[in-house]
Amino acid sequence: MQAEDQPAQPSVIAAPREWTLPKRPSVAANIWKFTRRKPLGALGMLIVITMLAMTLGTPKASFGTPDLPSRPLGFELGKPWLARYDAEKTFRDESTGRIRRYNMPSADHILGTDKGGRDTYSRMVFAARRSLFIGLWALLFATVIGTAVGVVSAYFRGWFDTIVQRIMDSFQAFPALLILILLVSLRPPSLTVLAFGLGFVGVTSVQRIVRGVVLSTREQPFVEAARVIGATDLRTMVFHILPNIMAPIIVVFSIGLGAVILAEAALSFLVPGKVPQDPSWGIMLQQTRDHLPPDAEGYHTLAAGGAIAMSVLGFNLAGDALRDVLDPRLRVG
């Protein structure tokens, strides 16, 4: 009502800004933030992504010789993106007809060849698939069962908890490697047995960690609140407790993958006849374990051993970083 009388003056109060919600950082920005804070973790993630690239593939992915069949693992995965040749392709010398056994690295074979004249680099890539496959299945098994047992046991406490923990202790008391060897000795070699066995020995560790976390989580107010409004036990466990313990589970998962890969290598070393013979880092390592570069076989050892070390490194670093990031207590001030 006074608008026409007053001369237009610049308002002392600045024109109200348009209030919008703060922009969510883009994915790229998030990644950059993570990288800056946890460079080791970023390195770990890079390694993990490389491993995934070694594992996945499309049926059309073709480097080298597209006419050879791919090596499915029970389901069609195609040739891995990073592989150059097929894992079982035997290379022969043109002039002599002999297989190119343990050749030094060259343009054709960047990491040399193995005892059957097959390209070491490509076998290393194919083997990633097997390690990841076994690792994932084993850990899935261990995590699902371990989490279930840990959550239930910690939630109910009392004598139930005690009995369950004693049973878990008895599983823990078994020397893991020996039980693994026993399990693979009972059946002809198969990936399922291997994955199951590795998962079986991991259950106790997972459940111990989960139980520890749940013991403290269940004291939190929101759990009590859930009970108050009438949530059943099951509902409380699944919808309230479980989402809040995902962080340690993720960490366990990532670090566990490293342990499973090492265990598989150890198993291939001790009982090479009882594990499936598709290319696997453990088997590759067992073949040339006596040699190191600059022997020709040494490059084979380097490929396999290096792959194992790198993947364990990657998973552990990534897991460490994730834990640091996700665990509020450890934030650097």
Partner: protein, 664 residues
């Protein structure tokens, strides 16, 4: 924080997180890029700095190194030990200290274990050379005398040496006696230690191996050999008479074969017919007449044997053998460990199993070392189920000889030799190449389709293989691989891939099975385990290589074949005493198994359904390479196990310059 930040800031200034990360990312992506892009095609492959392979396409199949193959001959270059050179424990490594199946000398099928037995027990005759198949008397006193028609002998008289005594722990000093598992022999088996060996012991040992009423008869796997000895009679305490059912030309071989030990009756429990039962302490029962006494076998660790001072010494007791105090065989199978131990003179001889490249390297490094190479008579083969053993029904798909021939042609033997043994191998026909007396000559073998390696020949063979495979209906193939030795499952994917490519075949993913499973499957009906791939024992005589396998009803005839033509030849070789004639029959047998005409002029065009050809596919056998220190005198290599009695000739030369540094 109270702590000074100076150093922290110092480092921070140089190496920030960004720089660190940047460096890592650059390095990593550089690697990744290089790997993906590769570096273009073509280019020659360079070999490692070591020896390059001898062209093998048309040439030798004795591996990369020209053959200085040793042929076993224990009489060769025997140097008696000078005075003062006796004593010392020989040390080597191997599988000897593994009780794979049983301690029973008549029942064990595990070569390294009956090597230990051969140091402790004696046989009537001992092999001096496997390849030339020469044997000498051991417990016998002279070769067998033939009674009757010398052209078709059925009766033999064998005289035994007198004064051969069973081991007596009381004959050794107390400190050695403590190490013997048999030290309480006089309490457990009164009268046995030190007693003389007589015809009763010989007859007992022979009868045991063919006693059909024994509860363990099924486990005496050489019983078919002893069945040919219809009657074994005692003439007097030192003479026996053997009557065979018809002329049996491998008889002398049967008497010298690897399990033909003479053991004392006291150590065997008669009711159970075994020396192993709960609380029986089998090691205490290892009492024989050999040059060494059984010390102690610690499973998976070591076996020790000690000198028998009362040994009868074969024909020359005055030499005072054995010269050694004994030997120890350690169970160390890792190549790297073996090499380290050999260099440190903690063991006196070492070989390369599977990959002998370190042996060649160390020989180049130290030329004074002695080099041993020998062809092994064990080999790898495949066995197919052709007919069901029980019902006689044909087993698809392997009953079709065309399919078997196709696989025989397509199987890449060169790949097997190169892959498993780095080329240190030899082609194996139905009789192994180590047994030069009976095996098809390598010249002839290499011209047979399937064994030809030149480019043109190979293409021809593969074309024929594809054709035969299609004619047989392109069936799905499945192989079962043994899980031991470990190079077999190792090789399985490559073999399968080779078949896939060469035949355009549909090969099912291979199965790996432990040996008992394979054995059981091969015995059962057609649907179980129809094609196997595994390692087979080493045999000496022609008969062992073919008769048990291919004869109708033979103990190793898991194929279920019954080929009347082959049966006739097998029976003929058993009866033929003229060596040259027998060899000729042997060649005909081998050619028949390889689908060739009996005169070797070419392949048979169409194989009859009853043909036993290719029921067993023989691939290759390995050539071992080993080194020994020069102070190790009178050492021998044989193509197979069970010859440790020859350690009686061994002595250690203390004057040799290489002896210094050796302890103990």
């Amino acid at each position: 924080m109270a702590e000074s930040d100076y150093w922290k800031n110092f480092w921070r200034g140089r190496v920030t997180r960004r720089r660190l990360l940047g460096g890592v990312v650059l390095g990593g992506s550089g690697l990744a890029a290089a790997s993906i892009l590769g570096c273009g095609g073509g280019g020659t492959t360079s070999n490692n700095g070591k020896k390059s392979p001898v062209p093998g396409g048309n040439g030798t199949f004795w591996g990369d190194h020209p053959p200085d193959i040793e042929v076993s001959d224990a009489r060769r270059e025997f140097m008696p030990a000078p005075d003062g050179m006796t004593g010392g424990m020989l040390r080597f490594t191997g599988f000897d200290a593994l009780v794979f199946d049983t301690y029973d000398p008549h029942l064990t099928q595990f070569g390294p274990l009956y090597s230990g037995h051969s140091a402790v027990f004696s046989k009537l005759y001992k092999y001096v050379s496997h390849e030339a198949q020469i044997s000498e008397p051991d417990l016998a006193d002279g070769m067998p005398e033939v009674i009757g028609d010398p052209n078709a002998p059925t009766e033999y008289i064998i005289h035994l040496r007198k004064g051969v005594k069973f081991h007596d722990p009381a004959s050794v000093p107390a400190n050695v006696r403590d190490k013997l598992e048999t030290k309480d022999a006089d309490k457990k088996f009164p009268g046995l230690p030190g007693r003389e060996l007589t015809a009763d012991d010989v007859i007992y040992s022979f009868d045991r191996q063919k006693n059909a009423s024994s509860p363990r008869f099924a486990l005496f796997y050489r019983s078919s050999q002893y069945k040919t000895m219809q009657k074994i009679e005692k003439i007097d305490d030192y003479t026996i008479k053997i009557t065979t059912d018809g002329p049996v030309s491998p008889l002398l071989h049967f008497l010298a074969d690897t399990n033909a030990f003479i053991i004392p009756q006291e150590v065997v429990d008669k009711e159970r017919d075994t020396l192993e039962f709960p609380h029986s302490e089998p090691q205490a029962r290892m009492i024989g007449t050999g040059p060494f006494m059984w010390g102690k076998l610690t499973n998976l660790e070591a076996i020790n044997v000690y000198r028998n001072p009362d040994w009868f010494g074969w024909d020359k007791p005055e030499l005072g053998r054995p010269y050694l105090d004994g030997y120890t065989s350690f169970f160390i199978v890792d190549n790297a460990t073996n090499e380290s131990l050999f260099r440190g003179k903690k063991i006196d001889v070492a070989g390369g199993s599977g990959d002998p490249s370190w042996v060649f390297d160390i020989k180049d490094e130290m030329p004074e070392l002695e080099f041993l190479r020998g062809v092994v008579s064990g080999w790898v083969n495949s066995r197919f189920k052709v007919f069901d053993n029980l019902t006689g029904a044909p087993c698809t798909p392997w009953t079709d000889p065309r399919l078997r021939r196709a696989v025989h042609l397509a199987a890449d033997r060169q790949q097997a030799m190169d892959f498993i043994w780095a080329g240190e191998a030899a082609l194996c026909g139905p009789v192994g190449p180590a047994i030069s007396k009976w095996a098809l000559p390598q010249d002839e073998l290499r011209k047979i389709p399937g064994y030809r390696f030149s480019q043109a020949d190979r293409e021809e063979d593969l074309a024929l293989a594809k054709q035969l495979y299609e004619q047989a209906g392109s069936p799905e193939l499945q192989f079962t691989f043994a899980d031991q030795p470990s190079y077999i499952p190792d090789f399985a994917p490559a073999f399968i891939e080779g078949l896939r490519q060469n035949l355009n075949a549909n090969v099912k993913k291979q199965v790996i099975s432990p040996y008992p499973g394979i054995a059981e499957g091969l015995l059962k009906g057609c649907d179980q385990m129809v094609a196997s791939w595994g390692f087979d024992n080493g045999w000496i005589d022609l008969d062992d290589w073919v008769y048990p396998y291919f004869r109708t009803g033979g103990p190793k005839n898991s194929f279920g074949v019954s080929d009347p033509d082959l049966d006739a030849l097998l029976d003929a070789e058993r009866r033929e005493f003229d060596e040259d004639k027998r060899r000729e029959i042997g060649y005909q047998i081998q050619r028949m198994i390889l689908g060739m005409k009996p005169d070797g002029s070419g392949p048979v065009d169409t194989l009859a359904p009853t043909s036993a050809a290719f029921a067993r596919l023989d691939y290759a056998t390995l050539v071992t390479a080993g080194v020994s220190w020069p102070y190790f005198k009178n050492r021998y290599t044989f193509p197979w196990f069970g010859n440790n009695h020859w350690e009686a000739n061994v002595w250690l030369d203390k004057d040799d310059p290489t002896y210094s540094g050796r302890e103990g």
